[in-house]
């Protein structure tokens, strides 16, 4: 077999793979080094972490978060960031999907020797995803899951009193989100989806939330898969049983096609996204605090509270489609669903706040 020479170590070892980012032949060892070095450079350049901070790694058991946990632990030791790492998982309660992936996270916890905390939708909101799907049907369930997970991560992070959450979003995800936001005309999200840290002091839009960062922002999905594969990392790869997501699928295919034509496309899209400046005159939704659960929201009542209300009252369509009227009604009769027996999560929130005090 003719062996191509690795471009990085110049012939010490023969190449084992072609780097998706540069289309150059690399040997395994040099690929690992390059991949890890790039993430390290991102972390240093963007000042993602400060020494002594506690960082929660949002771990789903999938390839991105597994690689993130592995690399962060490795770099933390190698370059002495002085970070305190913990794994944070959210159990949506999807039988046949999340229960299996959580097994992977539990194994990762053993392998990497990191503390792990799992929060369930059931205990946070009173509803597991399986129950929600039973009530709502297969059509709108991802709305619930997505809205709840965002809050759940923050709640988990508050419980653990961490300084930051690191998520496994990779370059492909970010490119996809940029294009999605253009196609949906979501100018507010378009503005913030490229920033590598959201919710910190420099960001006055999202106050009172734990900052999030994306250390894998510049890492290609293909390289993450290669890294996980060659390092023999233990990860879980199955699509969620409830998610079809055809619209996003169009964009994903588009990005894969672009990558085939010109491998740098993904980074180019991110560069484009970073260059976009929103007109100062454009109306953006004002970030405020939900009157019920004091989580950040663009409306007086946050989406999660609205969805929960709908579920508890047996009108699951509430919060999907036009809901202006309902929101106003809810504002008027505020505390109705929040008697002490209620499972409404705003009650839980009040409890956790009092516990902390």
């Amino acid at each position: 077999m003719p062996s191509t020479i690795c471009v990085s170590c110049r012939g010490e070892r023969s190449a084992a793979l072609v780097r998706p980012k540069t289309s150059e032949p690399y040997c395994k060892i040099c690929f690992f080094q390059a991949f890890e070095r790039e993430i390290h450079e991102t972390i240093v350049k963007e000042q993602l972490f400060k020494p002594g901070e506690t960082i929660a790694i949002a771990a789903s058991g999938g390839k991105d978060s597994t690689v993130l946990a592995y690399v962060l632990k490795l770099l933390n030791e190698r370059h002495s960031y002085g970070l305190n790492l913990v794994l944070l998982s959210i159990d949506e309660g999807i039988t046949g999907y999340r229960d299996d992936s959580l097994e992977t996270v539990k194994r990762n916890q053993q392998q990497y020797d990191l503390p792990l905390i799992i929060l369930t939708y059931k205990e946070l909101y009173g509803w597991s995803m399986d129950e929600i799907v039973k009530a709502v049907g297969r059509k709108n369930n991802c709305t619930f899951c997505g809205v709840f997970r965002r809050q759940a991560l923050d709640r988990g992070a508050m419980k653990l009193s961490v300084n930051k959450i690191a998520t496994g979003h990779n370059a492909d995800d970010i490119a996809e989100t940029i294009l999605m936001n253009i196609l949906r005309g979501d100018i507010a999200r378009l503005k913030r989806c490229t920033s590598i840290i959201t919710g910190d002091e420099s960001d006055d839009n999202e106050v009172s939330v734990i900052p999030r960062c994306k250390p894998l922002k510049y890492a290609y999905e293909k390289e993450i898969v290669l890294y996980a594969f060659y390092k023999r990392l233990d990860y879980f790869s199955t699509e969620c049983i409830y998610s079809p997501n055809a619209y996003r699928g169009n964009i994903r295919t588009y990005i894969k096609d672009l990558e085939r034509l010109r491998p740098s496309s993904i980074i180019d899209i991110i560069h484009s996204g970073e260059q976009l400046i929103v007109k100062p005159t454009t109306k953006l939704p004002v970030q405020r605090i939900c009157e019920r659960c004091s989580y950040c929201s663009s409306m007086p009542i946050c989406k999660a509270c609205l969805l929960i209300e709908g579920l508890n009252k047996g009108i699951p369509k509430l919060g999907i489609g036009k809901t202006e009227r309902y929101r106003k009604e809810m504002q008027q009769k505020q505390d109705q669903c929040c008697n002490d027996q209620s499972l409404c999560h705003c009650m839980k929130e009040k409890l956790t706040v009092t516990e902390q005090n």
């Binding site: 709108n140 253009i182 672009l258 180019d268 484009s272 260059q275 400046i277």
Partner: protein
């Protein structure tokens, strides 16, 4: 990763509910005549009302900001395609003596002849001369795409031998055409350049630009008036009109466009970044009829980058720092001087933007230097 199921969002619900209905047996939405076309998403219109709607859209875009001065010399970029043919037709009507609110500028027409690049392109030049000079009697300026180059084959060789991707070929031609149009406009003392870009094309262009790292220029490239060049302002009066509406207008008025070959003719939908983007936009538009306008409105909310330092290749403002944009490769510098600079002997340093830097990676300049 999936934050919300996008399809079930309010926006998407609204999009889906308005899928086209057939025009048969429907009445025009403004008068009671039988409808013959469907515009926007599901509005039936009769011929008369459609034409009024179409012309109004065109004229109101133009008169919105009083763009043209009385007697100003204006260059119309004509390609022979449906959009620029309809554009010429509308301008000719607007300039005619009996027009209401007559347009007051002096029209010139420019045609960039690409036929030297393709063996099969024939007599397009004659057709253009016939149409513009003999029928419309406007001053016509035809420039060949390889104008100003020492050797007739230079551009052809560069495009087909030294450039390795269709994306790069398309983009080089696009940049060169714009450069030539600016040159003609300056030479003929025109201070405005009107192009027939419609919003369907602009929407595809936005995605294509994003994918090539040209995000910094999206806002300028879709604006009604584009001040990329200090001397010549680009005006896009069709920016609010869909390609479908142009096709309907052309058909109702029996306006024929010229068959013309371009670099991506006969290539598949996955052959270049622009083609891919165009396909995506058209596919989505079929399922969600407000795709094009949503993309377009998003770009309207973006701030224009008006840095005074310009890229020497695409003429748009630079989006890189001074030292990052400086080109060091001598062969590539020579190439840019040759293709994009009328003062081809100058030795000024060359600055290029992020997207053009990427583009130049697909071009091999060294074949150029060892020619006879």
């Amino acid at each position: 990763m999936c934050q919300v199921n996008e399809e079930d969002d309010e926006i998407f619900q609204a999009l889906k509910s308005t899928i086209n209905k057939t025009p048969t047996n429907r009445k025009c939405m403004s008068c009671d005549e039988d409808a013959c076309v469907i515009v926007r998403i599901a509005d039936p219109m009769c011929r008369k009302c459609f034409e009024e709607f179409f012309i109004h859209k065109f004229r109101s875009t133009l008169s919105k900001s009083n763009i043209f001065g009385r007697g100003e010399h204006v260059l119309i970029a004509y390609s022979g395609g449906p959009s620029s043919t309809a554009l010429l037709h509308l301008i000719a009507e607007g300039l005619s003596v009996n027009a209401r609110r007559r347009l007051q500028f002096q029209a010139h027409v420019a045609f960039i002849d690409e036929s030297s690049l393709y063996p099969d392109a024939i007599d397009i030049r004659e057709k253009v001369i016939d149409r513009i000079t003999n029928q419309l009697h406007y001053p016509l300026h035809i420039v060949s795409i390889d104008d100003n180059l020492d050797n007739d084959n230079t551009l052809k060789k560069l495009l087909f031998q030294q450039t390795k991707s269709l994306t790069a070929r398309e983009e080089l031609i696009r940049r060169r055409k714009l450069k030539l149009l600016f040159d003609i406009a300056i030479r003929e003392k025109c201070t405005k350049l009107i192009t027939g870009d419609n919003c369907t094309k602009l929407a595809a262009q936005i995605l294509s630009d994003m994918a090539q790292g040209k995000g910094a220029h999206v806002a300028l490239e879709c604006n009604l008036t584009d001040t990329t060049n200090d001397l010549v302002t680009i005006v896009r009066p069709f920016r609010e009109i869909m390609s479908k509406e142009i096709a309907m207008y052309n058909r109702l008025n029996s306006i024929e466009s010229l068959q013309n070959i371009d670099i991506s003719t006969m290539s598949g939908i996955q052959s270049s970044i622009f083609k891919l983007s165009e396909t995506l936009v058209n596919d989505l538009q079929r399922q969600f009829p407000s795709t094009v306008s949503t993309i377009f409105r998003t770009s309207d909310k973006l701030e224009k980058n008006l840095k005074s330092e310009r890229c020497d290749l695409c003429c748009y403002p630079l989006d890189l720092d001074e030292d990052q944009s400086l080109l060091s490769d001598q062969d590539r510098i020579k190439l840019i001087h040759q293709l994009f600079d009328t003062r081809s002997d100058s030795n000024d340093p060359v600055h290029v933007c992020y997207a053009c830097r990427r583009l130049l990676r697909d071009v091999q300049p060294n074949l150029q230097s060892n020619q006879e």
